[in-house]
């Protein structure tokens, strides 16, 4: 039994190879597929158990991050996507993929395409830096509340905003805040810039659907698959804590590993 992962690409997708790599390290069979293969009906979403929308600048993001690809998916594949999710398959959107899921209305709840948005960082700059995340949901099939994970962010439009206080309350009530930015001390509350690199409301770095099977996050777990990806590995090595067998030791790897494990579990159950 193997888990098949669709790594969706379009013009401007950048993180497809490393996302494939992450899922393959986790034991899945991952395939890069151009969106046109789906819209033209040459391939079908139903061949897969996990849909990953990786980072990049889909179609250049010149009309706002993720807008054009989200529009294309909504116009051509809306039903397929909804069925895919309803059947209990998992979806992850990373960075641009997160922006697309939000724009598409798959997050925070299906059809909720005017509830939240990811807009320009408060700094007004593209921000590329390593940050710390704390898992803040208890309702995820793959994440454990309180876990702290380190990985890079790299985006200009990652500031989560909500359309109303009610929607924010709803997110909290449904336990949909998957990740919050935190600092080295693990401070509760907003750690401030640059630990919160974009000024997101309530330091939110990622959200999930109420059941947790659709996950969107601005940070890049696929860029921390091995301990040597971490900016301080030379320091850890000097202190004797980096082994030669360093692959799969990165914080980001656990997300892919658990998604694949969960998919296997779901397959076993059917």
């Amino acid at each position: 039994m193997s888990v098949r992962v669709l790594v969706l690409r379009s013009a401007g997708t950048n993180n497809d190879f490393e996302t494939v790599q992450a899922f393959e390290l986790a034991g899945a069979q991952a395939e890069r597929l151009h969106v046109q293969a789906l819209t033209e009906g040459k391939r079908r979403l139903s061949e897969f158990q996990i849909l990953a929308i990786p980072g990049g600048f889909s179609y250049g993001d010149d009309l706002g991050a993720g807008t054009v690809l989200a529009n294309q998916l909504r116009a051509n594949l809306r039903e397929d996507l909804e069925t895919f999710v309803q059947e209990g398959n998992q979806v992850i959107g990373i960075c641009n993929g997160f922006q697309i899921l939000v724009r598409l209305g798959l997050l925070p709840v299906p059809g909720g395409d005017k509830a939240v948005s990811l807009v320009e960082n408060v700094s007004g700059h593209f921000e590329s830096r390593w940050i710390r995340l704390r898992v803040d949901t208890d309702s995820s099939p793959i994440l454990k509340k309180g876990e702290v994970l380190e990985m890079p962010v790299a985006h200009k439009e990652g500031r989560l905003v909500v359309a109303s206080d009610e929607i924010f309350d709803e997110l909290i009530k449904n336990d949909q805040v998957a990740f919050r930015y935190t600092d080295a001390e693990g401070t509760e509350g907003d750690p401030g810039y640059p630990a919160n690199p974009n000024g997101s409301i309530s330091s939110i770095a990622g959200i999930q659907s109420p059941c947790g099977k659709v996950l969107g996050m601005m940070p890049h777990p696929e860029r921390h698959l091995r301990s040597l990806h971490h900016p301080e590995w030379t320091r850890r090595k000097a202190l004797g804590t980096v082994s030669n067998d360093d692959w799969k030791q990165g914080d980001g790897f656990v997300i892919f590993k658990r998604m694949v494990e969960k998919a296997l579990e779901l397959q076993g159950a059917t």
Binding site: F57, G60, L63, V68, S123, G124, H125, F126, Y193, V242
Partner: protein, 1006 residues
């Protein structure tokens, strides 16, 4: 009936919605207005004491193309349908609002929302606007086709009246670049450039040269912007006289492009009559036949490294990574366009060098970008800015933005670089962009065969970038901003990214036999080069155009971006076309390669040009130039007085060349592709300046490339030969300090020089080239690729300003395992600090003298025998795993290196200058602290490894000069035994970061 133009304005939600405060006052939360705040920052940097509040909106103009009615035209597209389009595509549902109006007589009726002024900025006709393509794609997904879209940005001003003069300043210095954009203030009627190009007229032209005298020949060259000199014009005249016909316009242009300095490096390959004059007047003379062959290429040939897979023959050099793969490396300059339009110029600079990677062998996958910039001083007063130049601050912000937006969109980490400042770069900023690629070793070679079809892939051809190749070969003047605007290209990274995706897939499927990029000279250079050994026939009307109205010559020499040219066996043509179509990439056959040995150009079936490849490539007359190098007389050091070591260190750390570049680095996505193992910023706070970056290009193997660079224009004025040696030493040093293998380093040269028609300036070039050759041979480090950008001279007020001799050496090394690499941050207290190398009285051109005061002195030399051994010995310590941290000593010498290591690691350090080894028995504290002698490192090892390290070095210079301590200070004990410097790490860090914090994001902490 003309179809109406819809004007859609998209603006921040909440903006003056309540209108409680009345006219002229803005109501919008600062965090909802990052664009307005960023502009205010820029205006403040103009020196204005009161700055208006600004709100920015986006305007989209939509018009039906062609037909004036029907469901799909705006006539049939009612505001309700438009509203759906805007909600789906053009606005953010949570943070933006919009209004939809019609543009009538150039006026729209969008609300001013109580603003005092507004300015609408439109791109000029034909300038690339990526938003258009995105909007059209989105409309098509919604089933709406047959539209044209133009975009504009609108700025609303509050809280401050702007007079005409202020409007003019804002328009030209902040809101727009007049070269590519037009500004409409307040209610001035707007005309979105829907009509561009024009009627396509075909008239074949020839230019008779028969019987013309020298003046007339030169007039033709100048008026046609051909940049051909008299000798070349005479050669062309004689050639066509023999043929008995005049050259056609396209033939003359093809020759001008191919023979341009940019394309064939005629200075470097010409004959130089060289005189070297010693201070006492004695002269040595030498005739140098092909400087490139006599120096740089010769060194590479002699070194003959077995791991060099391709040198100097392709778009980039290639070295072996492992048994299966190689890595390519190329660095290009894009100076003149960046001087005129920094954002577009730098973006197309990085786009161009990435295409070099794509066009290397059968195509390499780009994995790392590098960037090195040289700008005028940032604190230049506006009244001192020469006519026709942009302020260095604006140039820098534009250049950084251009590299950022292009590199990030391409998904390639920009991970190594440097920035230098000097007054002489004001009119001539330098922008070096590098690209490293990964290529299967089996695909390093390419060969065009007669019968192969010529395919053009990627962007369409427009009028952009006409005469870029010849433009880059002339001096800039006050007028350049105006006359050369055609030479500015604006890129669209997504087009190139799509080409990259298709190209690599086509490569792996073996669909083509050869490939090159369309760079300077456009099709003329690409096809001309590829068909040099065969012949080529091109039907120019087949090239896809952005708009009608281009002449056949314009099509041929346009430097429109994002185009590649392929040689495709006819049997693979269909597969290639299908592959391209599946990813929405345009790929069109424009001709074929022949066995005629001729370049045959047709337009609509008629022959418009027919050149022999031999004359085109070998017919140009050799350049003959005179060069003189006057060796400057030795000047005794004038040391600065009355400055403490601590003050001097703070001043050097905060000087722009040395100060942190973090604000730039953080804007580049340096982690994309997930291959980065040593970062630009190091240590627990990620604020230490790494010496080199390292990447593992393949997931399957741990083979690692380490990339660094070396440059020091400060040395060039005093001693260009030693400048070259120093740059090579530094480029290798950076790699060794990161744990890279000195015996596996390959280097690249980029000469950016002043006007080499001046013998003194050419003399400096000769000296530097000789330094390059000696350095490469001494270290056994081959050059694998290079590029020159000559004639960087700026004419202002009748005065010629030449840039300093600026040699960039880029370096790349391969190691088998990433695990051995090291970083520069101190790791723990109680460890030994060893200084490697000999510290000499070498302060000529040093940062100590430049920033603190002081003059004279000599430029650091390199003892090539010792330096090579030092690098190898240090590498052996790294392989043993003994080196906990290492940093190279460069600008600011020992003091700066120690400070950076300490604050990066948050570990204190104490050094004793009595312990510093000096073969000259240096007896000055400041000289020991700030000398920039080459081949030196400061390394951290555990105390119990000190003896092993000293033993390993034998007679080579190494000494323990101090230790890491459990404190938050850097302390230095002078020769007297007294402490001469004691500074907190926080204060040193503050000095080093000051500039970066000023330039970086100003985030208001609420």
């Amino acid at each position: 009936m003309v179809a109406p133009i819809w004007s859609i304005e998209v603006f921040p939600r909440g903006w003056n919605e309540s209108n409680q405060q009345g006219p002229g006052v803005v109501e919008l939360a600062p965090e909802d207005n990052p664009r307005g705040r960023a502009l205010q920052e820029e205006i403040r940097s103009l020196g204005w004491d009161s700055v208006p509040e600004i709100v920015v909106s986006d305007i989209y103009f939509i018009q039906s193309e062609g037909a004036d009615s029907g469901a799909n035209s705006p006539l049939g597209l009612d505001p309700e349908k438009l509203k759906e389009v805007v909600e789906a595509l053009l606005s953010d549902p949570v943070t933006q609002g919009f209004s939809i109006e019609q543009l009538e007589g150039g006026e729209d009726t969008h609300s001013w929302r109580e603003a005092l002024h507004r300015a609408t900025v439109l791109k000029r006709a034909g300038v690339m606007d990526p938003s258009e393509a995105s909007a059209l794609h989105g409309l098509a997904d919604l089933g709406l086709t047959g539209f044209a879209v133009r975009t504009a940005t609108r700025f609303y001003f509050y809280n401050k009246e702007l007079n005409a003069g202020q409007q003019e300043i804002l328009a030209s210095k902040v809101l727009s670049n007049p070269v590519i954009e037009e500004v409409f203030w307040d209610r001035s009627p707007i005309q979105p450039p829907f009509q561009i190009g024009g009627e396509s007229q075909f008239q074949k032209n020839s230019i008779s040269l028969e019987g013309l005298d020298d003046d007339e020949l030169m007039k033709i060259s100048q008026e046609g912007q051909l940049s051909l000199d008299l000798n070349e014009m005479r050669t062309i005249q004689a050639h066509y006289s023999k043929l008995g016909r005049p050259p056609s316009d396209i033939e003359l242009e093809t020759l001008a492009q191919t023979w341009s300095e940019h394309c064939c490096h005629k200075t470097f390959t010409g004959v130089i009559d060289y005189r070297r004059v010693e201070p006492d007047g004695t002269e040595t003379k030498e005739v140098i036949d092909n400087l490139l062959k006599q120096t740089i290429k010769k060194a590479t040939d002699e070194i003959d490294a077995p791991w060099c897979l391709s040198v100097f023959v392709d778009n980039a050099g290639v070295v072996a990574l492992d048994e299966e793969y190689g890595v390519s490396f190329k660095v290009e300059t894009h100076n003149h366009p960046s001087a005129i339009e920094p954002y577009g110029g730098a973006g197309t600079g990085i786009g161009g060098v990435i295409r070099d990677t794509l066009g290397t062998g059968l195509g390499a996958r780009p994995i790392i970008n590098t960037d090195v910039f040289c700008f005028g001083p940032l604190d230049l007063e506006y009244q001192d800015l020469p006519q026709g130049t942009l302020h260095p601050l604006r140039v820098m912000r534009g250049v950084v933005g251009g590299v950022r937006d292009y590199g990030n969109r391409m998904g390639i980490p920009t991970a190594n670089g440097a920035v230098y400042f000097d007054e002489r770069y004001i009119g001539n900023p330098l922008v070096f962009c590098g690209s490293v690629g990964l290529i299967p070793r089996s695909q390093v070679d390419k060969e065009v065969r007669p019968g192969d079809l010529i395919y053009a892939m990627g962007g369409r051809t427009g009028r952009d970038g006409i005469h870029g190749a010849t433009f880059s070969s002339v001096e800039l003047t006050e007028e350049s901003e105006v006359v050369s605007s055609g030479a500015v290209q604006i890129g669209n990274a997504i087009t190139e990214k799509k080409v990259l995706d298709v190209l690599l897939e086509a490569r792996d499927r073996g669909l083509y036999r050869a490939i090159t990029d369309c760079g300077a000279g456009g099709f003329s250079s690409a096809v001309g080069e590829m068909g040099e050994q065969t012949g080529a026939k091109v039907d120019l009307e087949k090239a896809p155009l952005k708009y009608d109205g281009l002449t056949y010559t314009e099509i041929w020499i346009s430097e429109a971006q994002e185009r590649m040219v392929f040689a495709v066996p006819p049997e693979n043509a269909q597969a290639l076309e299908e592959l391209a179509a599946s990813e929405e990439v345009e790929c069109v056959c424009i001709g074929e390669f022949t066995d005629s040995g001729r370049l045959e150009l047709f337009y609509r079936g008629e022959s418009v040009g027919d050149l022999s490849m031999e004359f085109l490539h070998d017919g140009n007359p050799r350049f003959e130039r005179e060069a003189v190098y006057q060796v400057p007389a030795h000047q005794e050091e004038q040391f600065p007085t009355e400055t403490s070591a601590g003050q001097a260190l703070h001043r050097i750390l905060s000087s722009p060349n040395v100060a942190s570049k973090e604000w730039i680095i953080r804007q580049y996505d340096h982690e994309v592709q997930g291959l980065s193992v040593v970062k630009a910023m190091q240590g627990p706070r990620r604020d230490g300046p790494g010496d080199a970056c390292a990447f593992t290009p393949r997931f399957e193997s741990d083979a690692t490339v380490v990339v660094g660079c070396g440059m020091n224009p400060c040395y060039g004025d005093l001693d260009p030969y030693r400048m070259a040696l120093s740059a090579i030493d530094e480029a290798i040093r950076n790699i060794v300090a990161t744990g890279g293998d000195p015996d596996r380093v390959a280097i690249l040269d980029n000469f950016a020089w002043g006007n080499t028609r001046r013998p003194q300036i050419l003399g400096q070039l000769v000296e530097a080239a000789k330094g390059c050759a000696d350095g490469a041979l001494g270290f056994g480090t081959p050059f694998i690729s290079g590029k020159d950008s000559l004639n960087n001279e700026f004419q202002v007020g009748g005065k010629a300003i030449n840039i300093p001799p600026s040699l960039l050496i880029s370096s790349l090394s391969v190691v088998d395992s990433a695990h051995q690499l090291i970083s520069m941050d101190l790791k723990a207290s109680g460890n030994a600090l060893l200084l490697i190398g000999d510290t000499k009285l070498e302060l000529g051109g040093s940062h100590y003298f430049r920033t603190v005061g002081g003059e004279g002195g000599i430029v650091p030399d390199v003892d090539l025998v010792k330096a090579k051994e030092i690098f190898q010995k240090l590498y052996s310590l790294v392989e043993e795993g003994w080196v906990l941290s290492a940093h190279d000593l460069s600008e600011g010498g020992l003091a700066v290196a120690a400070a950076e290591m300490a604050f990066a690691g948050e570990i204190g350090a104490k050094l004793e200058l009595q312990k510093v080894l000096s073969s000259e028995d240096l007896q000055r504290d400041d000289a020991l602290l700030f000398s920039e002698s080459n081949s030196r490192f400061l390394i951290e090892v555990s105390q119990d490894r000190v003896d092993d390290c000293l033993k390993r070095f034998g007679s080579l210079p190494i000494a323990q000069v101090g230790q890491t301590v459990d404190s938050d200070k850097l302390e230095i004990v002078g020769l007297s035994g007294e402490s001469i410097l004691e500074e907190s790490l926080a204060s040193l860090r503050d000095s080093w970061q000051r500039l970066s914090k000023e330039m970086g994001p100003q985030v208001e902490v609420s």
